[in-house]
């Protein structure tokens, strides 16, 4: 393979879930497909971060305003939305989770994106999470948060992260809640795993 193509494959391998073989497949495809496929993607990516960045406050994706100054703080559409309930803050692991919760239409508060979960196996510890930034938002005197809803996934790492966040928030006077875990809507009990079923039973609620 030409060196130029090897370089492109290496860059593709930085994408999440893309191994060496897949990265090579992408590079070969772009070297042989219609010319504009590589050019269009390249042009968009080269300038992507001049237009889209993480929100300085919450970590959600934010679109930069036309003619924004480089030192201007970046705020996402949700952080700028004055109709949102500032007293309710939903903590998620990834932007994808935020987007999924937004699609449900149920969350009327604001968000905080951790960007990652605690993961001893991957060497990710408490210091790698933006907990100081989270703390500053929760105890902001101008807009104090009264409820922190932890919406990390119900996995081992997600639960460990939820416990950590709850512990960190304990002294700040906000109530910390956790999303419910159980059998998914439309899910078949027969095919639910044991942990999910166990939690669905432990988390049972009275009718009415």
């Amino acid at each position: 393979m030409p060196e130029r193509l090897t370089r492109v494959a290496h860059l593709f391998a930085r994408l999440p879930g893309v191994g060496e073989k897949t990265a090579q497949r992408f590079a070969l495809f772009l070297a042989t497909a219609d010319e504009e496929v590589a050019r269009d993607l390249g042009t968009e990516l080269a300038t992507l971060r001049d237009h889209v960045r993480p929100c300085d406050r919450c970590g959600n994706i934010a679109e930069l305003a036309e003619g924004a100054q480089p030192d201007e703080p970046v705020r996402c559409a949700i952080c700028r939305d004055e109709r949102r309930d500032k007293a309710l803050l939903c903590v998620v692991a990834r932007v994808q989770d935020l987007l999924a919760i937004e699609r449900s239409g149920v969350m009327r508060g604001k968000y905080f994106v951790l960007g990652r979960l605690l993961s001893p196996l991957d060497g990710i510890s408490a210091e790698d999470l933006p907990l100081e930034r989270l703390r500053r938002i929760v105890k902001d005197p101008e807009a104090p948060v009264s409820e922190v809803l932890v919406a990390t996934p119900p996995s081992v790492d997600g639960e460990a992260t939820a416990l950590l966040v709850a512990r960190e928030m304990a002294s700040l006077g906000a109530r910390v809640t956790r999303i419910a875990s159980g059998v998914p809507h439309g899910g078949d009990l027969e095919f639910a795993d044991q942990v999910t079923l166990g939690r669905a039973i432990e988390g049972r609620k009275s009718f009415g």
Copy 2:
């Protein structure tokens, strides 16, 4: 999602095997990862095709010479290699297959990349294959091909394509051969599928 990011996701979805979800994941990753990840990939891709193109003769990847004219024919390193046997032409489906055969070190001839296989289900018929270009190479009076080795994969589409190529080459005076199909080296007979085992037995050879 910002419109800009949706556009990037659409462009990623053109890559082979990348669905909508994966494309969105790539776009979100690049919008939140270190800035240079998107910029480096973008810069390389935007100019990729100024440096790497399909060989006009065989379809293999070719690196453009420094200062090459736009109307200059593009030739890959294998087509330019005078030590290669011009009388033996190996027909493959994809550049990846060519690279795999090159790694084996056994092929001393030249190649021809079809780019795709016959596939009635995907609406790909004989007219979609570069058979006219293949024919011109095989009957080139300056370097006639005496053996066309068809190395398309031993799948339904690969076999149908091999038969088509054999039929098209029949009148040109070249011998048409097919790579052997059987139990792979190091493969366990217990886990080989029925068709592979059947072919391995049908294609059996005498010792010595």
